[in-house]
């Protein structure tokens, strides 16, 4: 009973996160300017990280959790680098 509720909620959450990834990917492909594409990429990796978390809950494996934290860290650094590149034209001054 309790396992059943968790399994169904994981399934619903994964469907919603997949839809969110599709929307962010659409904005990344379509976006009128470069800033929109970067924003779409940012949302895409955050949703991919959440998808990894739901996989970790389903399989009861903590390795997914660690990799999700690493994905979050690297994604933050990459979006900061993109923003600095758009603002100044170079990343390391």
């Amino acid at each position: 009973m309790m396992e059943l509720s968790i399994i169904w909620s994981i399934l619903i959450a994964q469907i919603m996160l997949g839809l969110a990834m599709a929307f962010a990917f659409f904005r990344m492909v379509r976006g009128p300017r470069a800033q929109d594409r970067i924003l779409g990429l940012d949302t895409l990796y955050i949703n991919a990280m959440l998808m990894l978390l739901t996989f970790g809950i389903r399989t009861a494996n903590t390795l997914y959790f660690e990799s999700a934290l690493i994905v979050a860290l690297i994604g933050f650094v990459s979006s900061i680098a993109f923003g600095k590149f758009l603002m100044r034209g170079e990343i390391i001054e």
Partner: protein, 119 residues
């Protein structure tokens, strides 16, 4: 373990999962539907942060392990700290590049052409 407590934890994890996924989906719909970059960024940085925080909390509670729960809370803290930084930097870059606000917005108090700062 006590079956009532087990059931309560399962319901809590299920509710956190559903609510967090709904917030993430709403953030993505905002990114898809809002008219310009600034409103899109507003949706992504607020609703995206709370959605990812709730899902991290769900993963931490479900593991029933203090180390995982503390790491989940640290990840949530990291998100709260870093989402405004990247959103602010991206909005500043867009404003400097002359990205116009949408027609629906009322006032823009930052001067449009800002002189690039010299070192």
């Amino acid at each position: 373990m006590n079956p009532v407590l087990n059931m309560a934890i399962a319901v809590l994890v299920a509710a956190l999962l559903i609510v967090g996924a709904v917030f993430s989906l709403l953030a993505a719909i905002g990114i898809l539907r809002f008219p310009d970059l600034y409103t899109r960024m507003h949706a992504a940085s607020k609703a995206g942060t709370i959605g990812s925080g709730l899902l991290l909390l769900a993963a931490g509670v479900h593991s029933l392990d203090a180390a995982i729960l503390i790491r989940a809370l640290a990840g949530f803290f990291f998100f709260v700290l870093t989402a405004p930084i990247s959103a602010h930097l991206l909005a500043k870059a867009a404003h400097q590049a002359g990205y116009k606000l949408t027609k629906l917005s009322v006032v823009d108090q930052l001067p449009q052409k800002e002189e690039p700062r010299r070192r």
